[in-house]
C-alpha cells in the first residue's frame, strides 16, 4: 500500500492506478464467482464440475441442475445487485458531494420498502396471487418516491440538491409511519416475510429474476461512467461545473433516474441490502482516488464481488439453512469500515 502510494505521488496522476485496480478487481470477481459456483448445500463441488467438463464426460443431471438452475442464476443476480448498489452509492455520493450519501437519500429505499410492505400485508386482498407482486410493488414504490422528490426539488428547471435531501428525509419519515401502521396490522406470517425482506436475501434467485433486473440495472452500469467527468466537476460546486461546460441539470436528472432504476430493481429482486453502497466507493476512493470515471466502473466490479462473496458466506455459515445476506454485509462490512476509518485517522496524524 505504501509503495503504491509513493509511486502514484511522484506523478499526482492516479489514472493508471485506477486502471490497474480494474484488472485486479476483475480477478477478485472471478475468484468470488468460482467460489460461489463451487460451494453450496447440495455438496456439488467446483472440482466435480471442472472434472466433469475436463474429462469430456459431461455433467450428471443433478450437477447440471444445481449448477445451471440454482447457482448460476444466483451468481448472476448477486453480481447484478451488488454492482447496482455500489454504483448507485458512488453516483449519490458524487451528486450530493458527500462520501456518506446513499441511495436512501433520493427516497428510493423508503419508497420500495413501503411498496414491498404494502404488497406483503395487503396483497392477500387481491383477487389473484402472484410471486411477482412484492418485487413489482417494491420497484414501483421506489420510482414513485423518487419522482415525487425530484418534482418537489425542481424549480424553474433547476434541481436543488439540498431540497432533495430535506424532502427525502420527510418522505422517508412518512413512508416509515405508513410501514409502521401496516406492520401493526400484519399477521405473524406476514411479519416473518417482512423481516426477511428487510434483511435482504438472494435465496429466491432464479433466471426470471435475473432477466427482470437486467434491463434496469445493466444500462445504469454501462452508462454511469459517462457521468463520471460531470460528477468530478460537480465536486467544485454546481456553478463551477457549469462554468467548465458540464450540463449540470442533466447530470443530476440522469444520476437520480439511474439510481432509482438500479436500486429499485435490486431491491425488488433481493430486498434491502445495506452497506454495500457506502463501503465499496469509500474503499475505492482510498485506493485510487475520487475520480468518478474510474470509481464508477470499479465500484460495479467490487460491489459484484463483495455481494457474491457475502452470499457464499451466507449460504455456508449455517448450511443447509442460510443467513439473510444483509446480516453478512453488515457483520463483515461494519468492522472493516471502522478499521479503515481508524487507520485513516492514524495515517493523517502520523
Amino acid at each position: 500500500m505504501t509503495a503504491t502510494l509513493a509511486a502514484g505521488q511522484s506523478e499526482g496522476d492516479r489514472r493508471a492506478r485506477g486502471a490497474r485496480a480494474t484488472w485486479a478487481l476483475l480477478v477478485l470477481l472471478g475468484f468470488a464467482a468460482l467460489a460461489a459456483l463451487g460451494s453450496g448445500a447440495s455438496g456439488v463441488s467446483l472440482g466435480a464440475v471442472l472434472r466433469g467438463i475436463w474429462s469430456g464426460e459431461g455433467l450428471d443431471a443433478r450437477t447440471q441442475l444445481v449448477l445451471f438452475e440454482i447457482r448460476l442464476p444466483r451468481l448472476a443476480v448477486g453480481m447484478m445487485v451488488g454492482a447496482a448498489l455500489a454504483v448507485s452509492g458512488a453516483l449519490m455520493q458524487g451528486l450530493f458531494r458527500n462520501p456518506l450519501a446513499d441511495p436512501g437519500l433520493v427516497g428510493v429505499g423508503a419508497g420500495s420498502g413501503l411498496g414491498a410492505v404494502v404488497a406483503i400485508v395487503l396483497g392477500g386482498l387481491l383477487p389473484f396471487q402472484t410471486p411477482w407482486l412484492v418485487p413489482v410493488a417494491a420497484f414501483a414504490g421506489g420510482w414513485c418516491a423518487t419522482l415525487i422528490l425530484y418534482r418537489v426539488a425542481t424549480r424553474q428547471g433547476r434541481t436543488s440538491v439540498a431540497m432533495l435531501l430535506l424532502a427525502g428525509i420527510a418522505l422517508a419519515a412518512l413512508a416509515g409511519a405508513i410501514t409502521g401502521i401496516l406492520i401493526y396490522l400484519a399477521d405473524d406470517n406476514e411479519l416473518r416475510d417482512l423481516t426477511f425482506w428487510s434483511m435482504g436475501s438472494l435465496a429466491g434467485s432464479n433466471w426470471d429474476k435475473a432477466v427482470l433486473g437486467l434491463p434496469f440495472i445493466l444500462p445504469v452500469l454501462l452508462f454511469a461512467p459517462l457521468l463520471g467527468g460531470g460528477l468530478n466537476a460537480l465536486s467544485l460546486g454546481e456553478a463551477a461545473a457549469r462554468h467548465i461546460g458540464h450540463p449540470v441539470e442533466r447530470i443530476k436528472l440522469l444520476s437520480v433516474l439511474g439510481v432509482a432504476a438500479a436500486v429499485g430493481a435490486a431491491t425488488a429482486i433481493a430486498g434491502g441490502i445495506g452497506f454495500v453502497g457506502i463501503v465499496v466507493p469509500h474503499l475505492l476512493r482510498l485506493a485510487t482516488g475520487p475520480d468518478h470515471t474510474r470509481l464508477l466502473p470499479n465500484a460495479a466490479i467490487l460491489g459484484a464481488a463483495l455481494l457474491v462473496g457475502a452470499d457464499t458466506l451466507a449460504r455456508l455459515a449455517v448450511a443447509p439453512a442460510e443467513l439473510p445476506i444483509g446480516i453478512i454485509t453488515a457483520i463483515l462490512g461494519a468492522p472493516v469500515f471502522l478499521w479503515i476509518l481508524l487507520r485513516q485517522a492514524q495515517l493523517a496524524e502520523a
Partner: protein, 260 residues
Amino acid sequence: MLVAEGITVSLSGRRVLEGVDLTARAGEVTAIVGPNGSGKTTLLKALSGDLPMSGAATLNGIAIATAPVWQMAALRAVLAQQITVSFPFTVLEVVRLGLTASAGRETDPRQALARVGLAGYEARPYPHLSGGEQARVHLARVLVQLGAPVGPDGPRWLFLDEPVAALDIGHQLQVMQLAHDFARAGGGVLAVMHDLNLTARFARSVALLAGGRLVAQGGVDAVLRDDTLSAAYRCPIRLNRAPESGRWYLPQMAGALDAH
C-alpha cells in the same frame, strides 16, 4: 468584446443590480470596483450565467443568457471567490478538471501549475494546501480551461472574482501579472477587485459600482479620482502619484497615521 446593457438582478425580491451598462475590451484588464455590497460579485455572476438577469449581455457577440454551457465554457473561464472541493483530489487532478470541456486545448496542466508558482505540487492532496495555494490551483485550472488567450473564434475571457483576496503581497503581484499577461496576449480579463492600488497598477479600464448602480466607467485616470472614490466608498480618499512611475496610488494608512 463584452457588452452588457441594463443589467438588472433581483435576489429574494430585492434589486441588487439596477440597469448596469458595462463594456470590456479584449487586450486589457477591466476591473470592477466598489464598496462591499455594491453588486460587484453579483454583476460577475450574472455575466457568468449564474443568476437570472434582465438586460442584454453579449460576449464576443454571443448572448450570455441563452448560449449553451459548453459554448460559454470554450469562451470564458470563471474563477469564483470561494470554491470547496468535496473529495480529496490531488492538485493535478483539480487542475485537470478544467480540461474536461475543452479536450485538446494547448495548455498542459503541469505547465499551468508552474505558471502560478506551484511546480512540484502535482501530487499533493488539495485539502492539505493553504488557502492561498488553493486559490492558485484554481487559477491554474481556469488557465487550463482556456488554453491560449486567443482562439480561432476570437479572444477568450477570464472572469476573476477577487483573485488576490487570499494571497500575500508577492503572490498578489504574481497573479495580477498573469492576468495582465493574458490580456496583453490578446485575451480579455474582467476582474472584481478590492485593492485599488493593484487596480491602478494592472487595470486599464475600471467600472465603479455603488448601491447596485454603475457610478463611473472609463480609464483608470478618469475613474480613480479623489471625489468619485470618496463619494462611492463614503470615506475621504486622497490619491498620490508614485514619484518613480507616475502611477496613482492610495496611501491607505494615511488617515490612521495622521491621527497619532
